[in-house]
């Protein structure tokens, strides 16, 4: 909170120009560090429990390869388009930024739709959260990731509205940048889910 807050540093990318922005971005990185621990704990829980299937189905019997592959494709692509959005922002092009954010958003919504479909399918097979420790930990781990993506979708919608209202300013640029960090992070988590949950589940 100094006078420095309002001194602009023109050599930096838009989102790094004020001290306040730099603090926010660092704070968000640390928050992502905490999120890493959170997901690491969920992964550990899953790995401890995933062979404890009780009287319920095993991972191999259950998982839907097709849906999972589509989800993966959608989310990985959305991370790429999110990167393009930041690229456009760095070049100061609001229209390009908005367009790529919108694409990212749609891909994200597609991901969630397929994930919900996948979950509904499992529940119809009789595999619910209550069935076994394996399924409890599966639904909570993958569901926590899904909840994060849903939150990210809502968040991105509000940032798009602010971009439309206020244009590309130091503040909106920071918000876009931070939501993009969040989005890439969720992508990384998904890669771990894909390998440690689905791939491992299909072979073990």
């Amino acid at each position: 909170m100094g006078e420095a807050v309002h001194r602009y540093d023109e050599t930096m990318p838009l989102e790094y120009r004020t001290e306040e922005n730099r603090l926010n971005i660092l704070g968000f990185w640390i928050f992502l560090g905490a999120e890493v621990v959170l997901f690491a704990t969920l992964f550990a829980t899953y790995l401890v429990l995933f062979q404890r299937t009780g009287s319920g189905p095993t991972a191999q019997e259950l998982f839907q390869v097709k849906d999972v592959l589509i989800e993966t494709l959608l989310l990985l692509t959305s991370s790429f388009t999110c990167g393009l959005a930041i690229f456009e922002m760095r070049r100061g092009r609001l229209a390009g930024l908005l367009a790529w954010l919108l694409v990212t958003l749609l891909l994200g919504i597609g991901f969630i739709t397929f994930e919900v479909r996948e979950f509904i399918h499992y529940v119809h097979e009789g595999a619910t959260m209550q069935t076994s420790a394996f399924l409890s930990s599966f639904f909570v781990l993958v569901g926590t990731h899904g909840a994060h993506v849903s939150l990210g979708i809502g968040w991105m919608i509000f940032i798009i509205i602010q971009l439309l209202q206020r244009g590309l300013t130091v503040k909106t640029a920071r918000k876009v940048f931070i939501v993009s960090l969040y989005w890439h992070f969720l992508d990384v988590v998904w890669i771990f889910i894909f390998t440690l949950v689905y791939l491992l589940g299909m072979v073990v």
């Binding site: 006078e3 905490a34 429990l49 909570v140």
Partner: protein, 648 residues
Amino acid sequence: MKWSEFFVTGEPLIYAADVAIVLTMVGIVFVLTYFKKWKWIWNEWLTTVDHKKIGVMYIICAVLMLFRGGVDALLMRAQLTAPNMNFLDAQHYNEIFTTHGTIMILFMAMPFIIGLMNIVVPLQIGARDVAFPYLNALSFWLFFFGAMLFNISFVIGGSPDAGWTAYFPLAGNEFSPGVGNNYYAVSLQISGIGTLMTGINFLVTILKMRAPGMTLMRMPMFTWTILITCVLIVFAFPVLTVALALMTFDRLFDTQFFTMANGGMSMLWANLFWIWGHPEVYIVILPAFGIFSEIVSTFAQKRLFGYKAMVYSIVGIAFLSFIVWVHHFFTMGAGPEVNSVFSITTMAVAIPTGVKIFNWLFTLRKGKIRFTTAMLWSLAFIPNFVIGGVTGVMLAMAAADYQYHNSYFLIAHFHYVLIAGVVFACFAGLHYWYPKMFGHMLNERLGKWTFWLFMIGFNVCFFPMYFLGLMGMTRRMYTYSDGLGWTPLNVVATVGAVLMGIGFIVLCYNIYYSARYGERDMTGDPWNGRTLEWATASPPVHYNFPVTPIVDDLDAYWVMKKKQGGFQVKEEELKPIHMPSNSGRPFWISVAFFVAGFGLVFKWFALAIAGALFIVLGLILRSFENDDGYHIGVDEIKRTERAARKGA
């Protein structure tokens, strides 16, 4: 749920508590209305984002919680004084030791430490506030409403009764069917989120907002300990978040994480709990080390001995704290290999801790010691904490722990580290920084009375417990039979507890007495301090420093006093100061958390969803807010500074 189950009934103590709660609430409303203070409390306190006021609110809550936890403790001691007592029944006793432990660690020790760090850290690093003042207010209110939610459990619905460690399967639906453990899971979750945000906030503050010239190795030791504590918070609290979430799922939605059928694994809870729980005990002790370091160096009137060694040992302790958690359940079937590894890592903690002890002793050596109350607490800490640490190393021997585990020996160990470490530090810090917080000193004579009563009472209460443990008395037993030979030591322990209670009452009286008659601190530097917080007025003006101080050595203010006779502010150097605006939103977002949490506790999901929607609404409003704070003009700064410095 029937209404007759909603309110806890059938206990005279509970009815008395009901009456007391209603009377207190009516009293507060009456006083605020009568003195026309509603506006004041809203504008000055409930909506504040000032780190100093937030710190004061944390400490007020901590002292209230110390009272609540202390009453629990005295009730337990009353029940255990003699064999076959009927003062509390087994169920009531279970509830009381559970709430005692949970409250003392999470709602007393944590907020006390966080309160002190809120007040002191920005001042020590020469900053005007924390990095995220709005978030800081949200952290406080989440803690506050989490604590409220936990505390209403004993009159509404029933208290948790599975211990502060809430081990499964005991804490599961099968053996704990009521709402008590829902309260535990939900309220700790809410205040835990607040703590995590505090950790992030202070990490950024300390990393990015230090005064020019204050390199990491010139930071005051208290700030160092807070920096490392924040790292611990960021890495440990998410584990608690997950553990509590899984517990909530098991209890509310019948999942199978920790159950005994369908693949559930109760040891998973024990592991998750202690992966957070062990770092947690260091989250409260490291700041305590920092407080003692400041006080010892100030009142020995010497630079802290072995500053670098101190820093490295804090880092070492923090690292080790993540790889020792299994020592809490050596007896639960981990096997000799695993136990040996964790046995050794645990003993290793004693090495950096020992380094710190010697550094304090060497700081004292040849110092011109002033025996103030704050210093007495710090001096008493050293031998008492060593007793706790040495018995900790005894517990760390896995084979021997089969004998000590869950006996009163363990109880004595952790009270020796937590009380002689953390509580002594809180009292020491309170006396030391009180003038900075309120502009007047705490009375020294009363302070020394509290010290002697509490310190002697503490030893009388807890030292016999080591022997009770060796004689076979296990923790959490609500009564014992005659003829075991435990009675005399139990009577002694209760006497000690009463002495501690009296010491606490003297402390409360001291707060009242000093507010009325206490010596005012006109200088801002009553102790001849060494660090930058003493360069401000007491209490500091809301922007802390009119100009940012320049630091060129450790003990920045001490050096300033030597070189320039103090912190010099030239009026022509003043510039407008940017400050954040107050906001009521952190308060009502936290109310929404409370409502949602209450809904979850009773499985009233409509209420929980309504609360959640309000939380989301609050976040959206925050995102759309376009408030850049305000500027204080140079003229106003001049006026404020002249008024604040009149005494100096």
